[in-house]
Amino acid sequence: MFAIFKKDIKSYFTTATGYIFLAVSLVLSGFLFSINTVMASTPTSNTSGYFSIILFMVMIFLPILTMRSFSEERRSKTDQLLFTSPVSTISLVMGKFFSAFVMFLIYLALSCLNFIPLYIFKADGASPPNMALIIGNLFALVLVGMAFIAIGIFISSLTENMFASALITMAVLFGFLMIDGFNGLLGSSKLYVVRFILSWFSVLSRYSAFANGYFDVSALVYYISISALFIFLTERVFKARRLA
């Protein structure tokens, strides 16, 4: 597992993918941060507006990280090396998963530089930034990112075209984010079962507790199980392909 993890982290930086991901994501979040806080029409140190948009941005730039994952291995036939080496399929999937996850953590860590102006801003006598809210939101982003990466890796195992992989992943993540909106449309209708299932799958409703600075154990379990489910499904894809 460690060999493939190391190789993938390295390849993020020997191919352009890692740089593109970091550049796109950091520029976007820096821009969104400034127009939502210090450069807003009424400047504020409240970061909740920023975080609610960044969640949607994650949907766009995380697929850049996962699109090549398995699809590129298959296209260049290097999957034959991986699957004939004495390592289990699940550890290959985990290696790929953690390398993308670490890249995402690097992005999150770098994006924290955005918060520095809030403290300079505070010196002008405005209200201080709410630390609990920032930490809660960052933690929630880590969890959402983890689940989205697992989904992205699963989708990259289905196709050998990395652009198809990226687009399908975006569509699926968008679907996940839209579940909440759909649920809202159902409103107070009597389709309790449907509403219950939809709200269980809803990424947003789980996110909101953290966003408000609460620690929600059920949400933690939810995100970890979504990740585990898709990692498991990825392993199944390769088992099935061996037989197909």
Binding site: F2, A3, I4, K6, K7, K10, S11, T14, T15, S76, K77, T78, D79, Q80, L81, L82, F83, T84, S85, P86, V87, S88, R242, L243
Partner: protein
């Protein structure tokens, strides 16, 4: 060492392998011969655990590939048809990744150094794989396959696309690897297996056609000889004359005309050398022989011969 029992593999409705069984012993160099699409790669992919069989089993030292894949994969070094290279890495980075992936316990630098020397890629080890020539890429693939010193080495068409000098080098390398390893290689070139292998397994259309010692197969092939002869003379009469020579089995004309001369392919069986008789017969008629050369047996001929023999037995 490797036992393949009643292996069947279907792709959709098509049988890629149809009930193949054979055993390979320790230390053998086995050539896996067949035309494109015969099932060579499929068999190799199954033995290495990349594909699962539809039915049947593969045992390596008594261990089933699908019950304990990791134990089996440890013993096998595999070079697929297209070498699995990461073209954005340097040769050394690639080899050291493969080393880590196979969880080898040797001293990394010494082991990789030895392998680089063995396959002669020492001079390119700091270059990016994408900038290497096809021959070097193939050698890097071979190096990757023998990392960790596996007992069994499986090479899928290792000489395809190489120039003649590189082919000779790869063959020599295979021969030297065969001293300490069990080697299986696939090819669709008959002379290649004749040159390297102790034993030849021939498959066609997913079925086993022959499984013989190379020396024995060479004898069988020797029983049927062929010449291409260029003779100046009226073609129909020449054919009739040639056919009348003792032990000639078949005469065909192969199209190309050169002035008043034609090319004829003459097949004969038995140990008698017909060249002298042919010369005298033609000289009596005053039809000179302009050229004569032996024609090597092709894989297709071999198939015809082998399948005919099967038919005769039945």
């Amino acid at each position: 060492m490797i036992e393949i029992k009643n292996l069947v593999r279907k792709f959709g409705d098509k049988y890629a392998l149809d009930d193949i069984s054979f055993t390979i012993n320790k230390g053998e160099i086995v050539g896996f011969l067949g035309p494109n699409g015969a099932g060579k790669s499929t068999t190799m992919n199954i033995v290495t655990g990349y594909l699962a069989p539809t039915a049947g089993s593969v045992l390596v030292d008594g261990v089933d590939v699908f019950e304990n894949p990791i134990a089996v994969k440890k013993k096998i070094g595999f070079l697929p048809e297209q070498p699995p290279l990461y073209i954005d890495m340097t040769v050394w980075e690639y080899l050291s990744f493969v080393f880590d992936l196979k969880c080898c316990t040797f001293n990394k630098k010494a082991h990789l150094g030895e392998i680089c020397e063995l396959v002669k890629i020492d001079d390119v080890k700091n270059r990016l794989i994408k900038n290497l020539s096809k021959g070097y890429k193939q050698r890097v693939g071979i190096a990757g396959a023998i990392i960790g010193n596996p007992e069994i080495i499986i090479f899928d068409e290792p000489t395809v696309g190489l120039d003649p000098k590189q082919i000779i080098e790869v063959r020599n390398l295979l021969r030297s690897l065969g001293k300490n390893h069990t080697v299986i290689l696939s090819t669709h070139i008959l002379s290649e297996v004749q040159a390297i292998c102790d034993r030849i397994i021939i498959i066609n259309d997913g079925k086993l056609v022959a499984d013989e010692k190379t020396s024995k197969l060479n004898q069988q092939l020797g029983q049927n000889n062929r010449f291409r002869v260029k003779i100046a003379g009226p073609s129909k009469e020449v054919i009739n004359l040639l056919k009348s020579i003792h032990s000639v089995t078949r005469v065909t004309q192969d199209g190309v005309r050169d002035g008043d001369a034609f090319n004829f392919i003459i097949e004969y069986s038995g140990a008698v050398d017909i060249r002298k008789m042919m010369f005298r017969a033609l000289a009596d008629k005053g039809w000179p022989i302009l050229a004569m050369e032996g024609v090597e047996i092709t894989l297709e001929d071999l198939f015809i011969q082998l399948t005919n023999k099967e038919g005769d037995k039945q």
